[in-house]
Amino acid sequence: MSDTAFYTKDLSVFYGEKQAIKKVSITFPERQVVAFIGPSGCGKSTFLRSLNRMNDVIPGARVEGEIRIGGRDINDPSTDVVRLRQKIGMVWQKPNPFHKSIYENIAFGPRYHGVKDKRNLDEIVESSLRKTALWDEVKDRLHGSALALSGGQQQRLCIARSIAVQPSILLMDEPASALDPVSTAKIEELIAELKRDYSIVIVTHNMYQAARVSDKTAFFLMGDLIEYDETQKMFTNPSNRATDDYISGRFG
């Protein structure tokens, strides 16, 4: 087995009185893809967001339990959220490129973290775009607006933007659900490619996608983690009845 990238222990998330996540413990292996599946409102996105403390910005959200990356609890008050988010990239369902040029979208993050040198930035932009297989498509219009790209290209740009700050973990919240099948296939290819360098957590509504891209799968229901195992086993021989029902399409 590979090393542990990070793990959660008895993690609970509350929105006001409502408990959205109920004491979930998961260990994420390094350089593998973990997929979260489950019906809408089961808490999988909430769980994902708590991993880089994006829940901080939601009023009334409260987190209990531990999330440990390299031995440190990220919810500790001494944690530098800026450094944390640099280490953990995030991609959303809807591509959210900034209203800037393609180049500036990628250079945005590194600039925050103090990269000023033009040549250095150029390198980061090129390597990020190459890693997301976007370089050949956009190299002639790096300074054109990012909004002129197609939806799939925008999503890959957002992934490139995340990896430009050199994270070790990538969180993806339904990264392909707003895209057409061809773009979806490209994103999935990209995920398979990226897991050589990054530990990836992906939330998906599409069970086939989970089966295709992930090494391990976690099934959530009503804020509970029902089952967490090798994807292979989850989809062929789940040990829990509810997992079996969901995967075979009897509800959800």
């Binding site: 880089n52 994006m54 800026v82 959210n96 993050g109 925050y112 933007r161």
Partner: protein, 308 residues
């Protein structure tokens, strides 16, 4: 004996050809077109009227256009009468741009505060307060300026207190609601996810605001500023009450000055219709109108850029 029969048939024909829903359609359409036509005619008549009056001094050869624009002396009663409007053009430009320069930072900050930092407090307290500010009549602003700002400036600096600075301060408060509300709207319509995208890259809230949110909404923010300047440019009463109304090109912020609008309101009552003096005031009105067109075009241009 055939005639009545034929007319009944004809009536039946008419009903068949013009059923009620068709008639209603036509009445509605006619009404809408009539309103639009009236509106267009009114607007064009106003422009035509101002232009015909305002162009008379130049057409008749009494004043050269360049003399009006660049002349520094305004002596309509003098021998010979001099009509140099540069003092008013300069005065209008100074107070408007200075007012915008004072009000814009406040407007942006208020908008950022209301949308990004404390949305609840913004919605319940600040927004109504700013709307109230927009509803106060300009004579009240002028009165407050006259009784508070002018004496204050007189105390702090040398001179009378009247002048460009007093005018700009009053105007900046008057245009603050315009700039704030347009900036607030722009910030509200930011695409969802932009902020989160920036946070997720490790940016702090302040970095997100000035590196991402402000540049993204810049065209809309500029629209607000231009509208503010345009309002300041056209404001007459409040400015006239505090600016001192001396027809000289101002060399200091604390010197009495005059604007295009203030000179028109001041002198229009003392002139005879059709006289050169009166017509020249119309020329000033024409210049104001042209400036308004310019501002409208600027806003349109900025809005097109904001959509991209």
């Amino acid at each position: 004996m055939n005639a009545p029969v034929r007319s009944v048939e004809a009536a039946g024909d008419r009903v068949a050809r013009f059923p009620q829903h068709k008639r209603e359609e036509w009445i509605g359409r006619l009404y809408a077109y009539a309103c639009v036509a009236l509106l267009v005619v009114t607007i064009f008549s106003i422009v035509w009227f101002i232009a015909s009056k305002g162009l008379t001094p130049f057409v008749s050869g009494a004043i050269r256009f360049s003399d009006l624009l660049f002349g520094r002396v305004w002596k309509p009663e003098g021998e010979p009468a001099l009509f140099g409007a540069l003092p008013f053009l300069a005065g209008s430009a100074y107070v408007s741009f200075l007012a915008a320069a004072i009000a814009s930072p406040f407007g942006f900050c208020a908008a950022v505060f209301m949308t990004q930092i404390a949305p609840k407090l913004g919605r319940t307290v600040l927004q109504p307060a700013i709307e109230l500010l927009a509803g106060i009549p300009s004579v009240v602003y002028g009165f407050v300026g006259l009784s508070v700002i002018v004496p204050f400036l007189r105390e702090v600096f040398e001179g009378q207190g009247y002048g460009i600075l007093a005018g700009s301060l009053v105007l900046s408060i008057m245009i603050l609601p315009t700039i704030t509300s347009i900036a607030t709207d722009a910030l509200h319509t930011l695409p969802a996810g932009l902020k989160e995208g920036s946070f997720a890259l490790g940016a702090t809230r302040w970095q997100t605001i000035y590196r991402l949110i402000l540049p993204t909404t810049l065209p809309s923010l500029l629209t607000g500023i231009v509208l503010g300047i345009s309002r300041a440019f056209g404001e007459a009463l409040a400015v006239q009450m505090v600016i001192g109304n001396a027809p000289f090109v101002p060399t200091s912020l604390l010197q009495s000055a005059a604007t295009l609008t203030s000179i028109i309101t001041l002198e229009m009552g003392n002139t005879i219709g059709g006289s050169l003096h009166n017509n020249t005031l119309w020329s000033l009105a024409l210049i104001l109108l042209m400036m308004t067109f310019l501002f409208v075009f600027a806003v349109r241009f900025l809005e097109r850029r904001a959509k991209r």
